[in-house]
C-alpha cells in the first residue's frame, strides 16, 4: 500500500478525542445515571455493596480515561497543533493553529476554543478523581447518605458538562484544521 489511510498524528487525535474523550463522556453519563437510580433502591447489605462496587469501578475508569485523554492531548497532539510553520509557507494545512489564526472567521477556534480546552478539562479530571476516591472510600454510603450522594451527583454533573463542552470545542477545531 502506497499511502496509509490515517497518519500517526491523526491516529493520536482519534485516540485522544474519540476513544479517551468519548469513553470518559460515556462513563460519566453512566456514573450519573447510576448515582441517581441506585440511591432510590439502595439499602444496606450485600446488594448495596455490590452496586457500590460497580459504581466505584465505573468512576475509577472514568478518572483514568480522563487523565489519559489529558496527557495524550497535552503532550502528544497539542505540540503538532501549535507548531510554528516555516517563514513564507503558504500551505498551512500541516500547521492547524497557524491555519486557524490566518482566517479571521476561524480565529476564534484558537483564541476561544483551544485556549479553553487547554485548561478546563484538567479541572474535570480533578473532579472525577475526587468523586472516584469518595466512592472507593465510602462504598454504599454514597448511595444511602443523601448529602453525600447529592454532592457526588453534582460533581459528576459538572464534570460531564465540562468534558462535553471541551469535546464539542475539539470537534469544531478538528473539523476546520485536522491534524493530518
Amino acid at each position: 500500500m502506497d499511502t496509509l489511510l490515517f497518519s500517526e498524528r491523526s491516529l493520536w487525535t482519534m485516540l485522544h478525542g474519540v476513544v479517551l474523550g468519548g469513553g470518559s463522556l460515556m462513563a460519566l453519563a453512566a456514573s450519573l445515571f447510576s448515582l441517581c437510580s441506585m440511591r432510590a433502591v439502595a439499602t444496606s447489605g450485600a446488594a448495596a455493596d455490590q452496586q457500590a462496587r460497580h459504581l466505584a469501578t465505573l468512576l475509577v475508569l472514568t478518572a483514568v480515561l480522563l487523565w489519559l485523554a489529558l496527557l495524550v492531548g497535552t503532550y502528544i497532539t497539542f505540540p503538532p497543533y501549535r507548531a510554528a510553520p516555516p517563514e513564507g509557507l503558504t500551505d498551512l494545512s500541516a500547521y492547524p493553529r497557524a491555519l486557524i489564526r490566518a482566517n479571521p472567521a476561524t480565529a476564534w477556534l484558537h483564541s476561544f476554543a483551544m485556549e479553553t480546552k487547554e485548561h478546563v478539562p484538567w479541572i474535570a479530571a480533578m473532579l472525577a478523581t475526587a468523586v472516584a476516591a469518595v466512592c472507593l472510600r465510602y462504598r454504599s454510603q454514597v448511595l444511602s447518605d443523601r448529602p453525600l450522594n447529592g454532592m457526588a451527583t453534582a460533581v459528576v454533573t459538572i464534570c460531564l458538562l465540562l468534558v462535553a463542552y471541551a469535546g464539542v470545542l475539539g470537534v469544531f477545531v478538528n473539523k476546520v484544521a485536522p491534524l493530518e
Partner: protein, 109 residues
C-alpha cells in the same frame, strides 16, 4: 436513611476534603491562567513542544494534591458541616472555570 444513624458509617470529612480540594485545584488552575494572561506570573515551561500549558497545568495539579492531602489529614476522622464546605467548593470551582475562559481575561488586562 441518614447515614449518621447507620452503624459503622464513616464520618464525611474525607469526602468533603476531596470535594473542597477539587474546588481549590480548579480555582488554582483559573488563578494561574489569569496571572499568566495578565503577565503577572508565568509558570515555567516543563515541556517545550507543549509550551506554557505544561507548567500551568502541572502547578495547578500540585496545588490540588497538596490541598487534598492537607484537608484529608485534618478532616478524615471528623464529621464536617457539609453545607458550608459544599458551597465553598462550588464557588471556587465556578470561579476557576470562569477564569479559564478567554472572554474573562479581557476584564483583567
Amino acid at each position: 436513611m441518614d447515614p449518621k444513624y447507620h452503624e459503622g458509617a464513616r464520618p464525611n470529612g474525607a469526602a468533603l476534603a476531596a470535594f473542597l480540594a477539587a474546588g481549590i485545584g480548579g480555582f488554582a488552575m483559573g488563578l494561574i491562567v489569569i496571572l499568566s494572561e495578565t503577565g503577572v506570573f508565568e509558570a515555567p515551561v516543563l515541556y517545550e513542544p507543549a509550551g506554557g500549558v505544561s507548567g500551568r497545568t502541572t502547578l495547578a495539579v500540585v496545588v490540588w494534591l497538596v490541598a487534598w492531602a492537607a484537608l484529608h489529614a485534618r478532616w478524615k476522622a471528623r464529621e464536617v458541616a457539609h453545607r458550608g464546605v459544599a458551597t465553598a467548593a462550588l464557588l471556587l470551582l465556578l470561579s476557576g472555570i470562569a477564569l479559564c475562559t478567554p472572554p474573562i481575561w479581557g476584564l483583567f488586562s
